[in-house]
């Protein structure tokens, strides 16, 4: 096993890209991966670690170019047979199953930007969160635990509560007033705005638009979420965890 370790580590250090194999990656067969895990556990785990990420006795196999280039044992099989202290009499089937297990670890690593389980965000203090809600955070200015927030702890998962508290979604479209002269203005749902035009749909459903580079056209937008955006500069992470813990209690 030790010589394989040296071989694998050596190929890292040289960054020896060599000849690429077939480019379509080996598709992992879950059943074969399970059987391969048994082979791995029996013969490889002591040196290469439970997750194949290596130990002081053996290198990381997920980062191994030899493993990455292998297809169903075409690289690993011959390497095992050449090296001392390795299991040299594995059948071709066992070697192939071993590759399914290793490829499974590689693919899982390549995708681990997505969580296996939602993070635990309930690490704050409920009473501190309640105090912040009613005090420094000024949340109670607009929100009520028995009003609009009643039951939010039931309605949303903790991580969604955290996201919605920090980055609330717009519950209704933005309203805009466009003043076109001293005595004429139009109010409605904002349809579009850029540097050059503004458009709204009024209460009757009529769509209207105006150029903005005209001196007498003035645009007024009342964004109820503006206060939430301003708050982002003021929160500490502990504030956030405390408030989420409090909101989660609102069952």
């Amino acid at each position: 096993m030790r010589r394989l370790i040296v071989l694998l580590l050596g190929s890292f250090c040289q960054h020896a890209f060599g000849q690429a194999g077939p480019y379509v990656r080996q598709e992992v067969d879950p059943a074969a991966s399970d059987r391969g895990k048994r082979v791995y556990t029996q013969f490889c785990i002591n040196c290469h670690g439970a997750l194949a990420k290596g130990t002081e006795q053996g290198p990381d196999l997920i980062r191994s170019p030899l493993v990455l280039r292998d297809r169903l044992g075409d690289q690993i099989g011959p390497a095992l047979k050449k090296l001392a202290n390795h299991k040299t009499d594995l059948t071709n089937t066992q070697v192939a199953e071993l590759t399914h297990f290793l490829k499974d670890q590689v693919e899982a690593t390549a995708k681990n930007r997505n969580p296996e389980h939602p993070p635990n965000v309930l690490t704050g203090n409920l009473e501190a969160g309640r105090a912040y809600f009613n005090g420094a955070g000024k949340c109670s200015t607009c929100h009520s635990p028995t009003g609009d927030l009643a039951g939010v702890g039931r309605k949303y998962s903790p991580i969604d509560l955290q996201q919605r508290f920090l980055f609330p979604r717009r519950s209704k479209p933005l309203q805009v007033t466009v003043q076109t002269s001293v005595d004429q203005s139009f109010t409605g749902t904002l349809e579009r705005i850029d540097d050059f035009s503004v458009a709204l749909r009024d209460a009757s459903g009529q769509y209207r638009s105006w150029p903005r580079n005209v001196r007498n056209v003035k645009v007024f937008i009342d964004d109820p979420l503006a206060a939430h955006v301003e708050m982002l500069d003021g929160y500490t992470d502990q504030d956030i965890h405390n408030v989420v813990r409090y909101l989660e209690s609102l069952k």
């Binding site: 379509v24 990420k53 990381d60 990455l68 993070p119 920090l166």
Partner: protein, 522 residues
């Protein structure tokens, strides 16, 4: 003679007036300023600009096995040489008549895999067009007919590398870069022979084991798998004979507990000798990054004045929200400042490098961080205008929560991620002498980052895409919007300008379409 002129431009035009009828490389010239001396399109006549032609790319068929989905978004900056415009999407190169938009040839690379996230364009030298492919090849095409001259492997698909950057020509070198951060692999940059594709040198984005810089990693094993991809084109100073580029995030990307230290040479602005690949200096915008804030943004080269003294400068608006001005001969810091407000540092160190706040590293229960993973700016190109002395960045103020998913002592891959939040887009004009924002134009409408590069011209115009699918011209001195064209979708590349037959053209990509405007008024 024209071919010779183009070649000479490609190797020696730093700091000089731009070669007006062409846009011969990714940034137009080797400085990265994206400033054109053309002025036939200017403030006085911008509203007479007319549509010259429109070209919609049609890849025809999907890449083959392992190639992923067709991505038809034009992210590359077109290159113009001898009246021919070259544009790309992954696996595809088109040569187009820059006067008419008519296709001259279309080269299709038969893909064997790799991420098809985008392609940043071609390099042209004499009669050869160079392009990188997602499946890790540098391909040389005959500029007359698009037929392949040769190709050579520049990275290993098996290790999850891919290639997307536009090659850059420096003297007798084709400079290539690589991409990929799914697994823990080292980044590098290479130089190839322009005639044969043979490798001239490779420089890895990590120190040699045993050197003082290697102590910025906990182990050789971590260092050799530490990332630092090179996916935005380089700039070059022919007087100093130095090549400049940025390196990407360290690996593992988010879970940094297995790579304590500053993790050189990831997240660095790098200066190399282009003939040897030897390191001249480095400066690290994001030591020990754990937020995926690749410091690959174009290092822009210009000559300026600091405290009354003429200086050879380099500036970068970095993805982490900080603006850096360096002496480009030495890499010494001249100035560090935020170009949008951030919350992740404890200040800067003696070298002018930000000191990351440990409290704002990803956490199991989340940490609120600005900027978000998309960054205060991303790959789209900035512009520096020597007339105004302002550095322009199409920026975003964006927030997200960073989570750590893998708290193992040796995480691999990413081991965490961010989850999106609030974002607002703005165009920032930065005074390079002070780092202060001279003017800021907040783009109205829905927030979110803008993936449009910038162009400034001697016509006293600054061109940009906004979040509302407009292609906009602004006054570079004040930020006042002056003109716009409503496109079918948002700008997705860097605009360029060139002159043919006495007519100044302006070309911009939006999604799968190139729009060309021309000033035909006399």
């Amino acid at each position: 003679m024209k071919r010779l002129a183009v070649f000479l431009f490609a190797v020696s035009a730093f700091g000089q007036a731009t070669f007006p009828e062409a846009w011969p490389s990714y940034n137009g010239d080797t400085s990265g300023r994206r400033y054109s001396a053309l002025s036939k399109i200017n403030q006085s006549n911008i509203n007479s600009l007319s549509l010259a032609w429109v070209y919609r790319v049609n890849p025809g068929r999907a890449p083959q096995a392992g190639g992923g989905n067709v991505n038809t978004t034009i992210k590359g900056t077109p290159v113009i040489v001898n009246g021919v415009l070259y544009t790309t999407i992954p696996d595809h190169v088109w040569a187009i008549d820059a006067r008419t938009g008519s296709v001259i040839w279309h080269h299709v690379w038969t893909s064997k895999g790799g991420w098809h996230i985008g392609n940043r364009g071609v390099a042209v030298l004499r009669e050869t067009v160079y392009v990188e492919t997602p499946d890790c090849n540098l391909v040389a095409l005959n500029s007359k007919d698009g037929k392949e001259r040769w190709h050579t492997q520049i990275c290993d698909l098996e290790q999850f590398y891919y290639a997307s950057v536009a090659p850059i020509i420096v003297k007798n070198h084709v400079i290539t870069g690589v991409s990929g951060d799914d697994l823990d692999i080292p980044g590098y940059i290479e130089s190839h022979d322009p005639d044969t594709g043979a490798l001239q040198w490779r420089w890895y984005a990590h120190p040699e084991p045993g050197t003082p810089e290697a102590k910025t990693w906990p182990s050789v094993e971590a260092m050799l798998h530490g990332g630092g991809m090179t996916w935005v084109p380089s700039t070059y100073d022919p007087d100093l004979n130095l090549l400049y580029f940025g390196t990407g995030n360290p690996q593992p990307v988010i879970a940094g507990q297995g790579r304590e230290g500053s993790n050189l040479y990831t997240e660095c602005i790098i200066a190399l000798n282009p003939d040897t690949g030897k390191l001249a200096w480095y400066f690290q915008p994001s030591p020990h990054d754990t937020h995926d804030w690749d410091a690959v943004q174009t290092p822009v080269l210009f000559d300026g004045e600091i405290n009354g003294q003429p200086r050879n400068l380099l500036a970068q608006a970095s993805r982490n929200g900080w603006f850096f001005v360096l002496d480009r001969a030495t890499g010494k810091n001249v100035l560090s400042s935020e170009f949008v407000k951030t919350n992740w540092t404890l200040g800067v160190d003696a070298k002018g490098q930000p000191i990351p706040n440990p409290a704002k590293q990803p956490k199991l229960d989340g940490a609120l961080v600005t900027p978000n993973q998309g960054g205060a700016i991303n790959w789209p190109s900035p512009s520096f205008n020597p007339e105004t002395g302002l550095f322009y960045a199409n920026a975003a103020r964006a927030w997200s929560i960073y989570y750590l998913y893998d708290d193992d002592d040796k995480p691999e891959g990413w081991g965490g991620n961010d989850r999106s939040g609030f974002s607002e887009a703005m165009l920032q004009a930065i005074d390079y002498k002070t780092g202060k924002i001279r003017w800021s134009h907040k783009w109205p409408g829905n927030g979110g980052g803008v993936r449009s590069g910038l162009l400034s011209t001697a016509g006293k115009l600054l061109f940009a895409g906004d979040p509302s699918s407009n292609f906009v011209a602004l006054d570079p001195a004040t930020g006042e919007p002056l003109w716009h064209a409503a496109l079918h979708t948002s700008v997705t590349n860097g605009p360029i300008t060139y002159e043919l037959d006495g007519v100044q053209y302006l070309v911009v990509g939006a999604g799968d379409t190139l729009y060309a405007f021309a000033m035909r008024a006399r």
